[in-house]
């Protein structure tokens, strides 16, 4: 009886151990938070979207990257924004080619200051639904910015992150009001996960790739 009890306890301990180790791995895989650069009342956030991250563990996944205050690109989608700022100004370098929107409704720019974004210097309030490679969408704040893809025939396309501005890209800028302190998710709504059913799954479901969080605190 005692041996069976000990066996049951040992089995339970091993199972709990597996669960603990699993969560430790998950926590270790969480991307680091990248701080926005504060400029007066504005928090400057710089991002890029790339066709493939190019590194372990998922080199062929599409991804966002964020630039830290030292100017170094980090493979992270956790962005820290100070609560005292009034506006978050985003500069986004888009290096991927177009996939097109599943739902053309997201071709409309919503929730930004002035209701527009700037694409390579030109103000834009909506795009052709076939042109976005990705979107920067924050459903909690009703923010949606479609990110037009680079021409599929463009020369000098970036293949591995981090990309640099000498490679084919679109520069998109927009601003949104800094929300009250809290965590606000952002995501890409284009089905851009090549190799997954209908383009969903994989990077579309993973923080650090096409999902992220703006932490306001």
């Amino acid at each position: 009886m005692r041996a069976r009890l000990l066996g049951a306890v040992a089995t339970l301990a091993v199972l709990i151990g597996f669960v603990v180790v699993y969560f430790i791995f998950i926590l270790e895989e969480a991307p680091p938070a990248v701080s926005a650069v504060v400029n007066g009342s504005t928090a400057e956030v710089t991002l890029q979207t790339v066709a493939s991250y190019g590194r372990h563990p998922y080199p062929d996944w599409v991804s966002y990257l964020a630039r830290d205050p030292s100017g170094k690109w980090q493979h992270s989608t956790i962005i820290h924004v100070p609560a005292g700022t009034q506006v978050v100004h985003v500069t986004l370098y888009e290096y991927d080619t177009s996939t097109g929107l599943r739902n053309p409704f997201f071709a409309y720019v919503r929730g930004t200051v002035g209701g527009t974004m700037s694409v390579n210097g030109a103000p834009v309030s909506y795009v052709n639904a076939a042109s976005p490679a990705h979107t920067f969408t924050m459903p909690d704040l009703n923010v949606n910015v479609p990110l037009p893809g680079v021409n599929a025939n463009a020369k000098n396309q970036c293949s591995v992150a981090p990309c640099n501005t000498s490679e084919a890209h679109n520069t998109i800028t927009f601003s949104f009001r800094t929300p009250k302190p809290g965590n606000y998710r952002f995501q890409c709504i284009v089905p851009c996960a090549l190799g997954f059913l209908y383009g969903f799954g994989g990077p579309m479901q993973t923080i650090g790739y096409m999902d992220g969080m703006i932490e306001v605190s």
Binding site: R102, N103, P104, S125, T137, Q187, I189, M204, Q205, T206
Partner: protein
């Protein structure tokens, strides 16, 4: 119990328990109906929530005698049949036979279960002069209200992880928020563009699965203005827990004004939307 009661010197436990049970039930049934009942969810904003609320009150009230029987018997047993400290722990004498008790038990429980199933089914089909009490009924609803087909149609589109809404009677405009007019029959057509979601408008009493390639119909009529919460009620991926929205029931003129503003605002993308359809199969134009 009757065997126990027959022993010399023992009180009539069956009679005592029955009296206590009857008293507890007589107290708690009115408390359930008139004190607790009005606070039972989901409220009275719509015909659907009123029907659901009434069902919840009826079920809770019918459950009260059963609950009181269990609790009263438990308390009675603890007080009267507790072993003394010095008594050895021993099982009581086995009870055998008792066909009258067994038949009574089977008949009462069977009547309650079958009766409540019948009540629930009839209510689902006919409640409040409406139909379906807010549940999704698929593309061909079995229980249709008289206004089906003539009601304000609103398409609910689920996508990871966002709800959007199309109004086919207003040029097929798609909006990021849901507004419906008060005292107006509304016919929801719920679908999805990717995985299975579930459209749950809590205070409206509407819950319908959003399935890609399928049209799920639900009906509602809101009786008063106000806000309602919208949740996804089907585990649908990373941000399932954040797939929330807030909808509004507004006056008729306010709705007319709002939908006109939406048509103007989203005109550039409305032109790009596919023709209105009851479902949109999720095949992307291309990948890469």
């Amino acid at each position: 119990m009757s065997t126990q009661s027959a022993r010399a010197g023992e009180p009539n436990h069956a009679r005592n328990f029955a009296i206590l049970w009857a008293v507890a039930t007589a107290i708690m049934v009115p408390v359930m109906i008139w004190v607790i009942g009005p606070h039972i969810p989901p409220g009275d904003m719509t015909n659907d929530t009123r029907a659901q609320h009434d069902v919840n009150v009826v079920l809770s009230t019918l459950a009260m005698p059963v609950l009181m029987m269990v609790w009263t018997f438990l308390a009675y047993a603890i007080v009267n049949f507790r072993a003394g400290r010095s008594e050895a722990i021993a099982d009581g004498p086995p009870l055998r036979g008792g066909p009258r008790i067994q038949l009574t038990w089977i008949a009462v429980t069977a009547f309650m279960v079958v009766g409540l199933a019948a009540y629930g089914t009839i209510d689902l089909l006919t409640a409040a002069g409406h139909s379906g009490v807010g549940s999704g009924e698929g593309p061909n609803p079995l229980a249709k209200p008289a206004s089906a087909g003539k009601a304000l149609q609103v398409q609910v589109i689920g996508q990871q992880w966002f709800w959007s809404f199309r109004y086919p009677a207003y040029g097929g405009v798609e909006t990021p928020t849901l507004e419906i007019p008060v005292n107006t029959d509304v016919e929801f057509h719920v679908t999805s563009l990717d995985v299975v979601h579930s459209f749950w408008a809590i205070e409206l009493g509407v819950k319908a699965d959003a399935v890609p390639g399928a049209d799920n119909t639900a009906f509602v009529t809101a009786y008063r203005k106000g806000s309602f919460q919208i949740r996804c009620n089907e585990l649908c991926g990373l941000w399932h827990g954040h797939m929330n929205s807030t909808g509004h029931v507004v006056s008729g003129p306010a709705f007319t004004q709002w939908i006109a503003a939406q048509e103007t605002k989203y005109a550039p993308v409305t032109k790009q939307l596919p023709p209105y359809s009851t479902s949109y199969y999720p095949i992307p134009t291309r990948n890469g």
